[in-house]
Symmetry: C2
Subunit: 424 residues, 2 copies
């Protein structure tokens, strides 16, 4: 019996650690096909992806993925809970995914699954401790963490320390398990131990560097004189990244970077300022991840705005993480409203596939209980009426990304609806 394994990813950008994960996912799930659900042009940390979605899809296919689908924009830029709920919801609705494989620090599924169970079932001990800590003034994430630690101590099988709950990979993993439990899904969660650099590592020294380290390396030369003084060491770093990955993926990647065809949040600075200048506390509060306090803070600090990243850093407080602020700002810019992320996924779009996997693509299309758009331009015919404006938001978001890139580079614009899936 042929098996299909699902992976939820951003590939921002794709690197050899991701290729390793795809390979291990296939092995662990004993699968013949990998379906990747990829964030579109904006990612969970509330920023544009460094490369457009079709480029990242192509790199993933070159790196071993068989089918790449797009996670709709409002899940892709949501907090971990909604991100996971949307992504797992889509895999569940595909009706043919046997396993979901994600990276974790431990490489064993039990701690994630057990934690997820506590969070879904909310036993009395958990509820009481949570309430107590919230009353004492702890923020929700801190109170929840404290309540979880109490539950761990009560169950001897769960000897987790608090560091387990500090890793972004583990947090996402727990959310995936929660979503699977909530849906009572038959998809089996499995996990690959993360190798090499930690999630936030900023240096390119490890054999498996983080995407974050790659972005840092890429962003720096563009701020000085890209292609000149720094390019030698830059090329060297990049080539080191790509051992074990097909040379075509490296080529796709290098093409974009040599032309400076990549975006950071600061390419959206002017748009954000314009949007914020046109906002009131009321209109700001309609955006997902916004709070009345943050809205007021944004308007109070607006005269100090110099760039997207500088402004997000300026707004940071003890209570608000930088990611949360970035997301709130991004949601203002993209007009992503607070009520969107909690809805159930209503469609999924094909970004690319491997010709060898076209049989699997047919299986997926057959078994899916939600529309799989293989030709985006057909959306009005294929989507239920209520999904049309939601999908149009995805199109707007991608067109905005493309516009910023095109105006920056003075190149021709291609409408997102005109972009066919990548076929390898």
């Amino acid at each position: 019996m042929k098996k299909i394994v699902g992976i939820i990813a951003e590939y921002n950008p794709f690197h050899r650690g991701h290729a390793y994960h795809i390979k291990k996912a296939k092995e662990l799930a004993n699968a013949d096909c990998t379906v990747v659900l990829l964030s579109g042009d904006f990612v969970q940390r509330g920023a544009p992806a460094i490369l457009p979605k079709h480029t990242r899809a192509k790199m993933a296919l070159l790196g071993g993925a068989d089918i790449v689908l797009e996670l709709p924009s409002f899940y892709a830029s949501s907090s971990a809970e909604y991100f996971a709920r949307g992504a797992v919801g889509i895999f569940h609705a595909l009706g043919c995914i046997d396993a979901l494989c994600f990276g974790s620090e431990e490489g064993t599924i039990t701690p994630c699954m057990e934690t997820a169970k506590i969070l879904v079932e909310e036993p009395t001990a958990f509820q009481n401790t949570l309430k107590e800590h919230l009353k004492s003034g702890l923020s929700f994430p801190s109170a929840r963490k404290a309540a979880l630690l109490v539950c761990y101590q009560k169950q001897s099988s769960l000897s987790r320390d608090e560091h387990f709950l500090d890793s972004p990979n583990n947090i996402l993993g727990i959310e995936y398990c929660k979503a699977l439990l909530s849906l009572n899904s038959a998809i089996e969660p499995i996990t690959v131990k993360r190798e090499g650099s930690s999630y936030h590592a900023q240096k390119l020294t490890d054999s498996y560097p983080s995407a974050s380290a790659i972005r840092q390396t890429l962003a720096k030369p563009s701020q000085t004189e890209f292609g000149q003084a720094t390019s030698d060491s830059f090329d060297f770093s990049l080539s080191a990244l790509w051992k074990q990955v097909q040379p075509e993926a490296v080529a796709a990647f290098s093409r974009n970077f040599s032309k400076e065809d990549f975006l950071t949040e600061d390419d959206f600075s002017l748009l954000l300022k314009y949007k914020l200048m046109s906002s009131t506390p009321q209109t700001l509060c309609q955006a997902a991840d916004m709070s009345p306090e943050l809205a007021q803070r944004i308007l109070n600090c607006l005269n100090e705005f110099r760039s997207f990243s500088q402004f997000a850093a300026l707004l940071k407080t003890k209570e608000l993480t930088r990611t949360r602020i970035n997301r709130a700002l991004l949601h203002v810019l993209l007009d992503i409203s607070a009520d969107l992320p909690s809805r159930t996924p209503g469609y999924v779009r094909l970004l690319g596939f491997n010709k060898n996997a076209s049989g699997f693509l047919k299986t997926v299309q057959k078994s899916a209980s939600l529309p799989l758009l293989t030709k985006a331009a057909d959306y009005k015919r294929l989507l239920p009426k209520e999904e049309v404006p939601v999908f149009e938001k995805d199109i707007f978001v991608s067109n905005l990304y493309q516009s910023v890139l095109n105006i920056k580079k003075q190149t021709a614009f291609t409408h997102d609806l005109q972009k066919p899936p990548v076929i390898l």
Copy 2:
């Protein structure tokens, strides 16, 4: 008896032809003081002024003006009729302006005044010819021109040919006279013959070059490598421009340009694209100077958008001038709605004055029947309630200009309300 002469101007940028006009205006009006009503940060051709309003005000003061006031943004970026109506309305409301002096090709006031009379009084011959030509399918400006030529033939004193109606200076002059007649104003219209380059001249060869020629010269080096290869000939051209103008004005001008502290419409390309992408035919049609046909054309051509200027050129048709299109696009960007320009001016802001003219400033403040804001930050206290949102639009518009400049140059932002008048 001391006399005050008024000048309506854009000074985009200020040059020696403008200094000559100020000098002649004082002579012809036998005036002791010149009050300039200056367009703010956006000008009548539907584009940002190349330099911020306070810089242009300073140059005007250095070039001989005594008091500089700001023409509110929605008049400044309106068609000739509303532009003139707003500007003359302000001068009339100041209650102490003796003469209004504008440039014309002929240098005599009679043809402008007589034409204005025909347009205000609309004699039967005019009305009939206008109707006839409109029926035959001519556009309104062409039909009006034809009807005027018929009236000229009937009045032997008016031996004007059609070229008289082709000059933008004359068209504006006629509109000023129309506005004075409509208001039954005691302000005497006088005119200075335009010397040197024609309004649209693109070359810097004449002794009195056009502002348009200067902008062209300035825009070019910034598109290549400003300050390098082209800078020698550029400096040479600029210094030629400035003979007869105080060296301080040249210095103010050169400082901005050496730092590339100037804006063209293409610095607003990304903002315009974003705004157009977020628009519908209905929302577009709320903007001043928009028509349903133009709105539809804009949305149909949106995928071909590469920059503000390229898009405006692309949209040009036989029926629509480039200026009209630029204005419609600018009004979309600035949210300047179709109902604004037809209102009566409700305030005027002081941009700068010459200390020697502070006595005149007191005269102006005393006699004015509308609030003269000398400290912009006091606007809520000084303006009638209904003028507050109108003035706030001016502030928004200037802050947007400043934001684009600051984000382009990565310099600090100063809120428009914090900018005091320039005092020389």
